[in-house]
């Protein structure tokens, strides 16, 4: 077990290092001269020179890389070029919108998908199964941002149950904040729940065909008992993989969907920064998102070992 954790931790660190290199190279090496890139075509020579000095671009590439990475560790993400405020401050507030949104969506999607998948598998071939399969087939085809727009149209504009956008901040109260995240979370959750339902169903169906299920029935367990006590835990293993992958899609989706709901999250920050060519902000936010994805993958890997004793190695 220790060997497994050690190996996964190594992979985690290696991925982060490589990711940071990729981000750094794409944003600081590739544009040539980041300073003139940021200032645009019509900038003056001395303005460019001033910016270069300010950004420390006179140092070597390697030195710049290490000072950037070092900064990430200490929490110094640099200063935004456009806003002249520390990036860390800007990111912190917005992170508390995007991450909870992604987690909320993941929770919703799981809460819908597990029962639906189990239900469909236990009623295989019947009307219940066909209905679930039909609904999920539609669900995966719907772009989440379009669904978001429809939700806004129906629930915010016509029915007025929710506001059409905006985020009051966590200070306004947990319930209020969550309410404003609900429509976006539902929009995100729909396609993911559809995918997860199908994976749960097919994984369960595979497990139900295994030999040990026959042994379970031979003990005297009813079909239902056998499913709950034996099939589910074995079926979880492939489902966990998908959930881990889903988080990265949910995070990307959250970023896109913030546009629809005018949520002050990482999404708007990053798109504004791209438009205003504020590379410093883009670098840090991308790195942060990669970190979130990689951490979740790591947790999923650990969860595997908890669910499946075969991965813990033999004693």
């Amino acid at each position: 077990m220790l060997h497994y954790i050690f190996k996964r931790t190594l992979i985690l660190l290696a991925t982060l290092i490589v990711a940071s290199l990729v981000v750094f190279v794409s944003l600081e090496i590739v544009p040539g001269d980041p300073a003139s890139y940021m200032l645009g075509l019509n900038a003056q020579e001395d303005t460019i020179a001033a910016l270069r000095a300010e950004l420390g671009l006179d140092k070597s590439k390697v030195a710049r890389y290490f000072s950037w990475v070092g900064g990430l560790f200490t929490g110094d993400f640099g200063t935004s070029y456009t806003y002249r405020t520390p990036v860390a401050d800007m990111v912190r507030d917005r992170m508390w919108v995007s991450l909870p949104l992604a987690i909320y969506a993941l929770a919703l999607s799981t809460l819908i998908a597990f029962p639906a998948g189990v239900y469909a598998a236990s009623r295989r071939g019947g009307a219940g199964d066909t209905t679930v399969m039909g609904l999920t087939q539609l669900g995966v085809a719907v772009p989440n941002f379009w669904f978001a727009m429809l939700l806004v149209l129906l629930f915010a504009i016509k029915l007025r149950w929710f506001s059409a956008g905006g985020f009051p901040g966590w200070d306004a109260g947990f319930f209020q904040a969550m309410k404003s995240l609900t429509l976006p979370a539902i929009a995100l959750a729909l396609p993911q729940a559809s995918i997860l339902t199908r994976v749960m169903r097919s994984s369960l169906l595979d497990v139900l065909n295994e030999d040990f299920m026959r042994t379970a029935r031979a003990k005297g367990l009813s079909r239902r008992q056998a499913l709950w006590k034996h099939a589910l835990r074995n079926a979880m293993i492939p489902v966990l993989t998908i959930m881990g992958l889903q988080f990265s899609f949910l995070l990307a989706g959250a970023i896109i969907i913030e546009n629809v709901f005018y949520l002050p999250g990482l999404g708007r920050l990053i798109f504004q920064s791209i438009a205003s060519r504020d590379l410093i902000v883009v670098e840090s936010v991308v790195m942060l998102l990669v970190l979130a994805v990689v951490l979740v993958t790591f947790v999923v890997d650990l969860a595997y070992a908890w669910v499946d004793p075969r991965l813990r190695g033999t004693r």
């Binding site: 220790l2 060997h3 050690f6 295994e210 030999d211 040990f212 026959r214 042994t215 379970a216 029935r217 031979a218 003990k219 005297g220 367990l221 009813s222 006590k229 034996h230 835990r233 074995n234 669910v307 499946d308 004793p309 075969r310 190695g313 033999t314 004693r315």
Partner: protein, 539 residues
């Protein structure tokens, strides 16, 4: 129910699944405390009969007829009443021990679950009883704590756990469906002993389903012979084997004791293939973080020779290294030490065998269902080794070669255009032999080549192999765990254990006067087919 009523009575059982008839008018009885053996080849319906008793049939099954157990009518009983009976009054053991247990639960939980399901006791109490049952089946708690997981146990050990689950509540009837088919000879003997002792110890009745006549003759009081879903013969074991009344029974018996006709060959002076102190090792997965990598020695300094035209048997149980040895010889597995010579010339030991050398040796594998690429037609499959020839034959030569090779294994020209899924197991092995034969090698390695075949088909394939050896002067390296098969087709036998050859003799001497302890143990464990007055066989 009085003392004379059978414990289990099946009357006129008919089963069809999705319209296909599986069982036709099956009737049989099991007395309290007796053992009934059901014999049949694949497709005979024997497993389906067992599942019918347990009422665990697949979807789409339609059943007519009655099954009466312990005075109750099982057919038509509602599911919750059946759940009470399963595991409690009737226990079942299945064929594949490797997949019969839930991989994410430990063995204590799996046994205790069955107990707690039928007895009103706490889970703690159930675990204590589970521990006792595991001891009873030969898995002492100090060596095999309840917290062990199935993947930490061998096949034989897993089967013991399955048996523990089945007998935990001392059922009146135990159904064992091919319980030892997937196990080694010695493990098979142990499991059969265990089953016999359990039956005698608690006056439990047992139905033992198998295709192996020798196994059933050692355990069963009565036997029933099935074919294509019908019962063809029945009676007390001794009587059935002695009389061989039904032609199918007779055919099965003949096939089980079949010895193909072989001509003795004159042994040349120089060996065809010579292995000298061969060593093959596998790296083991790392257990600790920084420890040195450990290696497992599969083949440990083995030396042997095979002469042209002779048939050499290599026997041993699983894990002894015989398959690794074969693969090393064929250049399919790396070699860490020692040398291999073909006709006196050394072969490279790093798996890069030259084509000339590969031409002289070909192989037939065990599993007829995975030996062929499902996307290729038979003509292409059979002619694959022609790749080794320096001057590949022209199209016409190729087709005529394919045709003649298929003919020599008993297949026809039309077969060359078909896909492999259109053939049965026995036919596929013939095609595999054709593939090995087509470049006229000097040696064919047969790695458990008949182990997966039904007994009657096996006899035919052995005949084919014997006649081909005579015609083409082939040498065989016949690898098997089945001693009776090896005895019938080899001139010499080598016995392998833990990577080493422990005994090597000519076949008859080995079987009649074994010397090494392990050989004696193997021979003692192998079940013997009883003698029949109707068809005496030579020992």
């Amino acid at each position: 129910m009085n003392a004379n009523t059978p414990l289990l009575e099946i009357n006129n059982l008919n089963l069809s699944i999705h319209g296909t008839s599986i069982l036709g008018d099956v009737s049989l009885q099991v007395e309290v405390g007796s053992v009934l053996g059901i014999i049949g080849e694949s497709g005979s319906g024997k497993s389906m009969t067992a599942l019918s008793i347990m009422q665990l049939l697949p979807l789409g099954s339609e059943v007519t007829g009655t099954i009466r157990f312990n005075g109750q009518l099982l057919t038509g009983m509602d599911e919750s009443a059946l759940c009470d009976i399963r595991g409690n009054d009737i226990g079942m053991v299945f064929q594949e021990p490797m997949t019969a247990l839930n991989p994410v639960q430990n063995i204590g939980e799996q046994v205790a679950e069955c107990i707690a399901l039928h007895k009103p006791i706490t889970s703690k109490q159930a675990l204590i009883e589970a521990a006792a049952v595991l001891e009873k089946v030969g898995l002492p708690n100090d060596e095999f704590p309840l917290s062990r997981y199935p993947h930490e146990l061998s096949g034989g050990q897993r089967q013991r756990v399955v048996i523990a689950i089945a007998v935990a509540l001392e059922p009146k009837l135990l159904i064992a469906d091919e319980p030892t088919t997937a196990l080694d000879v010695t493990t098979q003997a142990e499991i059969l002993e265990l089953l016999k002792s359990l039956v005698e110890g608690s006056n439990m009745a047992m139905i033992l389903i198998t295709h192996d006549l020798a196994v059933v003759s050692e355990v069963a009081d009565h036997i029933v012979i099935m074919r294509n879903g019908k019962v063809l013969d029945r009676g007390p074991t001794d009587a059935v084997f002695n009389e061989l009344a039904h032609p199918y029974t007779r055919a099965l018996y003949e096939a089980s004791s079949h010895t193909p006709q072989r001509n003795t060959t004159h042994r040349p002076d120089v060996p065809l293939v010579r292995l000298d102190k061969l060593v093959c090792e596998y790296p083991l997965p790392r257990k600790s973080l920084f420890g040195a990598r450990r290696w497992f020695r599969a083949v440990s300094e083995v030396s042997l020779s095979v002469y042209a035209g002779e048939s050499v048997g290599l026997v041993g149980e699983s894990g002894c290294g015989k398959s690794t040895l074969a693969k090393a010889l064929l250049g399919l597995s790396p070699v860490q030490g020692g040398s291999i010579e073909l006709r006196g010339k050394p072969i490279h030991t790093d798996m890069v065998l030259s084509r000339q050398i590969r031409r002289e040796m070909q192989v037939v594998f065990q599993d007829p269902y995975s030996s062929f690429n499902p996307r290729h037609r038979v003509a292409r499959l059979v002619s694959e080794p022609l790749f080794l020839l320096d001057n590949p034959p022209s199209r016409d030569e190729r087709s005529s070669l394919i045709r003649s090779t298929l003919k020599s294994v008993g297949l026809s020209e039309e077969d060359s255009n078909k896909y492999i899924h259109e053939f049965s197991g026995g036919q596929r092995q013939r095609i595999a032999i054709a593939r090995a034969l087509i470049i006229k090698p000097a040696l064919i390695v047969l790695d458990e080549a008949v182990s997966a075949l039904d007994v009657s088909v096996r006899a035919q394939v052995l005949d084919l192999l014997a006649s081909l050896a005579d015609t083409h002067k082939l040498a065989y390296l016949f690898i098997s765990h089945d001693l009776s098969v090896v005895r019938s087709i080899t001139d010499r036998v080598l016995v392998m254990k833990d990577g080493q050859i422990v005994e090597r003799r000519d076949t008859e001497s080995l079987f009649t006067k074994p010397q090494h302890e392990y050989t004696k143990k193997l021979l003692a464990a192998a079940p013997q087919l009883p003698q029949s007055a109707a068809l005496p066989i030579q020992t």
